[in-house]
Amino acid sequence: MSLAATGRREASPGSGRKQGRGAHRGDGARKSSGRADGSGVVRTYRYAFLVPAVAVFTVFFLLPAFFGMYLSLTDASTFVPDTRFIGLDNYRLMAGDSSVLWNATCSQFAYAACVTVGKTVLGVAIAFLLDRTFRGARFLRVVVYLPIMFSTIVVGLLFGYILKADGPLNVLLKPFGLAQDWFGSFDLALYSVTAVDTWMGVGWTVVLVLAALQAVPAELIESAHLDGAGPWQVARHIKIPYIRHAINLAALLTFITGMKAFDMIYATTGGGPGTATEVLTSYVYKQLNTGALGYAAAVNVFQFLMITAVALVINRFVRRMEATA
């Protein structure tokens, strides 16, 4: 009822403008009919404006998603021209590969958790640093954001060189007995990749949090200072609560990105050594290499459902936290 009323209210000015143009041309008949049809036109053209966005979303997102789901129910393969509907067989095969899938899922969660913690903690810290006024602050902002603009493959190759067994980092660390085979160690490889990913992507969190920090009202901070609050207390009791929504958003989006991570892993370790850095996405890639399109699509559907579920849970948790804060 209220929506309909709103619709009528929105329709009036539009029809009035149309009527005005008609009156200017001296077309009295069209003037009256324009008022009658105008509300209908307005009602429909609101939806017409949505058409391009809906069309793009449907063609580039919805249709491929549905096609992927359909593929997961077939035996589609790059080696066989015909595709047969096989029901849930691919999902049964996934159950047969459960130990490998479980390992990949755990690694994906560990990866997402590490990059989320790393990028959020570092990002917030750097944003606080850059929120201060000092010489070179603008330059530092550029420097922090710069790595995002590099190609992931280039960054992967670069760190492959820096972190290799006899690379520059180990040359520096060797005198202290801290040299490691960063990408070659089964125990360290996953964390080495997350460190590189954090280095590359922390700028995005910085930008988001810094924008929120700069929106904190100056008078609020000033009154806190007048009340005798020190920098730490201002940060803890004024700024962080004020920018919590931005931190939460950055963390949530970083986690979701981490749950889909592939390019950095592919560029640095290729999923190895062994399966030490194999995540769901690299597992899907490996399946595609064997031509098993249907099976790869099934794993993708599984990953999509898992990310959606996790994102919903995190979102609800964050909202509850914000509500109680």
């Binding site: 006899d166 085979d181 089964f186 190895g272 050594p273 062994g274 064997t290 031509g291 098993a292």
Partner: protein, 426 residues
């Protein structure tokens, strides 16, 4: 209004001209002078190979026909060929698609005077069970996997002849280590290089049991039950555990391994004979030899890869000319000039490298001995779970898995690949 009319007139004129021009071409793809254009879709890396374009131009001059070379980045090659085949347009000659189940639907069987010139082992390998040959072999050299070794390093370590047993090989590696050089360089970051060990080992397995591929493809035997499996992989594990391989075996690359071998920093690598070109790039003066990886029972077998087979598309309107072009490219004079520019082992009995390098000469000797088999991956109908096998290899050489666990992982990957492909028995 006048402008719109003018644009419409120009458009109509352009359409008319294009219709007239295209009408000059016949349905059989010939132009007004009776010549045709053959579209050859090839991986980008093939275009710059010495001697290739010269032979293409020679055919064009001889026949008056044209060859349009359509290079495609290697990584996207198969997908783009499949797209052109699906649209039945834009390609007359292509490579790959060897695993297509219905070959007759997309390509034409090939024949020519070259069939009788083929090395008997190669002829057997390229002839399908129905007696047809799906594709024309290219002039490229044949490849095999085995041990590429630095002759100077081995000589300095006091090794006078290549080993024939696993025990001898181990002893040789120990000698190289004592001389202060890394005996065997593994390039675990480029996982495909580890698969060359598998390819070498599998060739000897097939040599010992000709039905092995069928048995494994039918899931009638387990990989670990193959005679010699435990010994071969235990030997690899022992080389790593005995410090006979490089410390960065998991993170080293193919380029690093070939450079180390070329410059005498490593005694040997396990790879394909194609690596000889890369080694020469690092050090043109390197003396490199080639021998087969010793087998557990002492009887190793050469796994000789099929030459690249070039196919004429089923829908090609210029199929006779395309086949004539392919036949010309491997006629004796052209095949010989190509091999002179790219020394290797030819698939043809009447083509030999004039001055083969050590590695090529060693391989030629093995090919001439006969008795080679087609590598496992080229015989098997199961899509090879290469990434999973690479992961298993990395765990073996990373000391995270023993031979029994390695065998389990390979078997699981094999079972999974067989089931996903819908093969009978899985």
């Amino acid at each position: 209004m006048r402008r719109i009319r003018r644009i419409a007139l120009i458009g109509a004129a352009a359409l008319t001209v294009s219709a007239v021009v295209s009408g000059c071409a016949g349905d059989d793809g010939t132009d007004a002078s009776g010549h045709v254009t053959v579209t050859y879709m090839l991986p980008s890396s093939w275009v710059g190979v010495p001697g290739f374009k010269e032979n293409v131009r020679a055919w064009e001059q001889k026949t008056g026909h044209q060859v349009t070379l359509a290079p495609v980045p290697d990584a996207n090659y198969d997908a783009l060929v499949q797209a052109r085949i699906a649209s039945k347009n834009g390609v007359d000659i292509f490579a790959g698609q060897d695993t297509a189940k219905d070959k007759a639907a997309i390509m034409q069987p090939a024949t020519g005077p070259w069939v009788q010139r083929l090395n008997p082992d190669v002829r057997k390998a390229v002839t399908s069970p129905d007696g047809k040959i799906w594709g024309t072999p290219s002039a490229d050299g044949l490849n095999a996997t085995g041990v590429l070794y630095n002759k100077d390093v081995f000589a300095k370590a006091g090794i006078t002849a290549p080993p024939t047993t696993l025990a001898e090989f181990r002893a040789d590696l120990e000698k190289v280590k004592k001389s202060g050089v890394t005996p065997l360089h593994l390039a675990g970051k480029d996982g495909w290089t580890l698969l060359q060990h598998r390819s070498s080992v599998n060739a000897s397995f097939i040599g010992a049991d000709k039905d092995l591929v069928a048995k494994l493809d039918g899931n009638k035997v387990k990989w670990a039950d193959t005679p010699g499996f435990d010994q071969e992989y235990q030997a690899l594990s022992d080389w790593v555990n005995g410090g006979l391989t490089n410390d960065d075996a998991l993170t080293s690359t193919y380029e690093a391994s070939t450079a180390a071998l070329a410059k005498g920093r490593a005694g040997a690598i396990i790879n394909g004979s194609w690596a000889l070109g890369e080694i020469v790039k690092s050090n043109a003066d390197a003396h490199i030899g080639f021998f087969l990886l010793p087998a557990a029972d002492g009887h190793n077998t050469l796994g000789l890869q099929k030459p690249n087979m070039l196919k004429v598309a089923k829908f090609s309107k210029v199929a006779p000319q395309a086949q004539d072009f392919l036949n010309f490219m491997i006629a004796q004079p052209q095949a010989q000039s190509f091999l002179d520019a790219n020394p290797g082992v030819s698939a043809f009995t009447d083509v030999k490298a004039a001055k083969p390098s050590g590695g090529v000469a060693d391989l030629q000797k093995l090919v001439d001995q006969g008795g080679s088999v087609l590598p496992f991956d080229q015989q098997s109908v199961i899509p090879q779970p290469q990434d999973d096998i690479i992961a298993a290899y990395q765990e073996l050489i990373g000391k995270r898995a023993d031979v029994a666990e390695f065998g389990d992982r390979v078997q699981k990957a094999w079972q999974s690949a067989g089931a996903k492909s819908g093969a009978a028995g899985f």
